[in-house]
């Protein structure tokens, strides 16, 4: 820096090198992105299909919906954020809904999907998608048979006005379950179990009023595209 060179001598090679690298980088990234994007999307769809069809026995196809200003509408490719999945059998009959939920657990966020049956107004099954809960303790929320049994007929009815759940779904300490809207926690994993309850409670509050207001939209969507 003691003997400053003329500007073009110092910065020209620098600009040339940076420009060259930017060009090569840009081409590489765009090619990789373009080549992999369809496969990534297919993988994502397959993962959702697997979860939805496992939660809704008999379902063969699914349609996605999003909630915009308290109204459900069919999702388009551009829609970001949480989706509701409606599963249909081969005759186009609605087999049930699969809804997303998430809440903070012991270590990180627990995200899950659960199935909901409109006729009985209850949760019928639950599947943990991602959690950082302690292996062998908290992560049993995804595998413990007795805990998963909680979600077979979990009461999620709305109140008379249809605006909010009649009873908030809540996790109670192990062995204290008395009501149909209570979840019996796993002994030794109360915080993780509570995260599941909280995720479902929040999600039902968010989605169900719109679901019950628009049942015919969900039932008739099987053959639309």
């Amino acid at each position: 820096m003691n003997t400053p060179l003329p500007l073009e001598q110092t910065s020209l090679p620098m600009i040339r090198a940076l420009g060259l690298i930017a060009l090569v980088s840009g081409v590489l990234i765009v090619v990789a992105y373009e080549q992999t994007a369809p496969r990534i999307e297919r993988n994502r769809q397959q993962a959702i299909d697997a979860a939805v069809f496992a939660l809704l026995p008999g379902a063969q196809t699914r349609r996605d919906f999003v909630l915009a200003t308290n109204t459900l509408r069919a999702a388009t490719v551009a829609d970001q954020g949480d989706r509701l999945y409606a599963g249909y059998d081969s005759d186009g009959q609605l087999r049930g809904l699969v809804l997303p939920g998430a809440a903070a657990g012991y270590q990180g966020v627990v995200s899950l999907l659960y199935s909901y049956d409109i006729a009985c107004a209850c949760v019928t099954g639950m599947r943990v998608l991602q959690s950082l809960e302690t292996p062998g303790l908290g992560d049993r929320i995804g595998s413990d048979a007795a805990f998963l049994q909680n979600f077979h007929q979990l009461d999620a009815r709305l109140d008379a006005a249809g605006n909010r759940p009649a009873h908030a779904i809540v996790t109670v300490r192990h062995g204290r379950r008395q009501q149909a809207w209570e979840i019996d926690a796993i002994a030794g994993a109360t915080i993780s179990s509570r995260a599941v309850g909280k995720a479902i409670a929040r999600s039902t509050e968010h989605w169900l009023p719109a679901v019950h207001a628009q049942i015919s939209l969900l039932q008739g969507a099987a053959h639309e595209h």
């Binding site: 090679p13 090198a17 590489l28 992105y33 992999t36 993988n43 302690t134």
Partner: protein
Amino acid sequence: MNTEQPLTADTFLAGLWRENPVFVTVLGMCPTLAVSNSVLNALAMGLATTFVLIGSGALVSLLRNVIPRAVRIACYIAIIATFVTVVDYLIQAISLRLYQALGAFIQLIVVNCIILGRAEAYASRHPPLASMINAAGNGLGFTLALLCLGTVRELLGSGSLLGIPLLGPQFAPWVIMLLPPGGFFVLGGWLLLFNWRQRKQGVKIPVAEVHRHGA
């Protein structure tokens, strides 16, 4: 280090064992600890890093006469970030489950100092072929180290290898091995083993090594 070394078998082998980036020069600790809780994660992370090493090594080496010294680090980082972005999309295309298991650590390959170290110390002074071979050696050395950790942690932590149960149903898994402390303990144990071996062979322990670098 300023002179060009001839291309020999050692170009490849040094990084694999004698100068193993994890066990001997203690580089790239963060991904080593974070994703070695199962053999499959360790293998995927190791191969992804190897890919980035080889790709960036080749490109840095090709451009070594064009890049001015003043901005070389910025250039290397840009090149490395490019390859990491590519590998990030590749892994998503191969398996979404694997991608979720590795999490943000794929993108954090950018700041793995093994890669910047190779670009600066080797690829910027050697032709592309030698750089790629050297990078492959170091990448596989890194993969080997990850596998060493992953094997111990998965075997003791879940009683299985590659998801196949090995130790029978009576085995009570050492859950701690899968948790963060287990990572520290197992890597500490492997380093002790390496130091002990090297001391037996009369090689000086690189004690000061860890003070010299960043991430």
